[in-house]
């Protein structure tokens, strides 16, 4: 049998569609396709609301995420098995933009860093629960209409990640990955959101997170986030140690009021000294 291109295309479209017959969901359409499965918009007839449903190859991902309750991790409402044996889970339908399509032209640097920090917090939280993301990239981050951030598509064993955001040890299929693979990906994400000509220190932070050798990266995600915070506070960052002159300048900037007052004191003393001599 020879199938034409149009029939082939049609079959690929319809055969993969999940059959929600017998469930409370009414399929609306496909809204995305990730590394682990497709995501569909559906209507929950029971609770009268729209949801997103992800159909998986296996059940692991649902169990992984169901255990993670965090403001930046999409809440899971329900999980089940389709008639064809595939597992699915229903989650909040996030309306917003994927980070890779997020309009960044006018977005100030502080807002870009805020997005990265929200992602980092979610990942750091997951790490405390022993869960790695493994596939962190802008396509897996949603920014809602109110600026809320959601990290999606939590990875499972066997997903190699996306080249640009993939740690070298992940690409080479090294034995055991650890949380530093996510540190690498977060650094790549930071580099992705930064403007064309970013401040030197932010470049250094991203570069440190993306060191080829995991031992040279930040020890964990909170360490990276602390450096971002230091940058925003005008302090020196771990990734980019200041020279003596830069340290002095930074001290002067942060303590300018005190230095001015001390200078005023010395000036007054000098003034009085010379006035007396006149």
């Amino acid at each position: 049998m020879e199938l034409s291109d149009s029939v082939l295309q049609h079959l690929r479209a319809v055969v993969d569609l999940p059959d929600f017959g017998g469930t409370r969901y009414e399929l609306e359409g496909e809204i995305g396709r990730g590394g682990l499965g497709a995501v569909y918009a559906a209507f929950d007839r029971q609770l009268q609301r729209r949801v997103a449903i992800k159909v998986l190859d296996g059940e692991e991902e649902a169990r992984v995420i169901a255990g993670l309750e965090h403001p930046a991790i999409v809440p899971i409402y329900d999980a089940g098995t389709l008639p064809d044996g595939r597992a699915y889970y229903a989650m909040k339908l996030v309306s917003g933009e994927r980070l890779d399509r997020y309009p960044r032209g006018d977005v100030p640097l502080s807002e870009r860093l805020r997005l990265v920090e929200r992602v980092g917090e979610a990942v750091a939280f997951a790490h405390t629960r022993g869960v790695l993301h493994r596939d962190l990239k802008p396509q897996n981050v949603m920014v809602g209409s109110f600026g809320e951030v959601y990290v999606m598509d939590w990875g499972v064993e066997g997903v190699a990640g996306t080249p640009q955001f993939r740690a070298p040890e992940q690409a080479s299929g090294a034995a055991a990955l650890d949380h530093r693979a996510d540190v690498y990906a977060l650094g790549a994400l930071l580099r992705f959101v930064l403007p064309a000509d970013p401040p030197r220190m932010l470049r250094a932070i991203a570069a440190k997170a993306m060191e080829p050798n995991p031992a040279d990266r930040y020890g964990d995600v909170p360490a990276l986030l602390r450096d971002l915070q230091r940058f925003q506070n005008g302090q020196a960052v771990e990734a980019c140690p200041d020279s003596r002159w830069q340290r002095t300048r930074r001290f002067a900037v942060r303590n300018q009021v005190l230095l001015l007052l001390l200078a005023a004191f010395v000036a007054v003393k000098f003034f009085l000294f010379f006035v007396r001599r006149l």
Partner: protein, 115 residues
């Protein structure tokens, strides 16, 4: 260390240092001991009041203004007692007060807040 204690410590130290600069005025060198004590006590009192103010008001600007004014007043009192060296006492007293005000606003633990 709370703000009041911070103020007392900084005030005493800065007052002492302020008094020490009197060494550059040769004619008062014989009585520098008294100057040091007086200046330190003045600084301590300014620091005490600044620290108290800093517990009530969390504002760098007003902290500096308050302490400058208090420092000026104390310096005026001392200058009156001296009857001499008004400028040498008032100006540094004013600036020292400002520095104490800055330090008490920035350093020291704020008062405990009960919910």
């Amino acid at each position: 260390m709370n703000k009041i204690v911070t103020g007392i410590v900084f005030g005493a130290v800065l007052g002492f240092l302020d008094g020490a600069t009197a060494w550059f005025t040769p004619e008062v060198r014989p009585v520098i001991g008294g100057i040091l004590v007086g200046s330190s006590i003045k600084g301590l009192l300014v620091g005490l009041l600044s620290g108290w103010f800093a517990r009530k008001v969390n504002s760098m600007k007003w902290g500096i203004v308050f302490a400058s004014v208090v420092g000026l007043l104390f310096a005026f009192g001392i200058a009156l007692m001296q009857g001499n060296h008004y400028l040498e006492i008032l100006l540094p007293g004013f600036v020292t007060g400002a520095i104490i005000g800055f330090l008490t606003q920035r350093a020291g633990a704020p008062s405990k807040q009960t919910v």
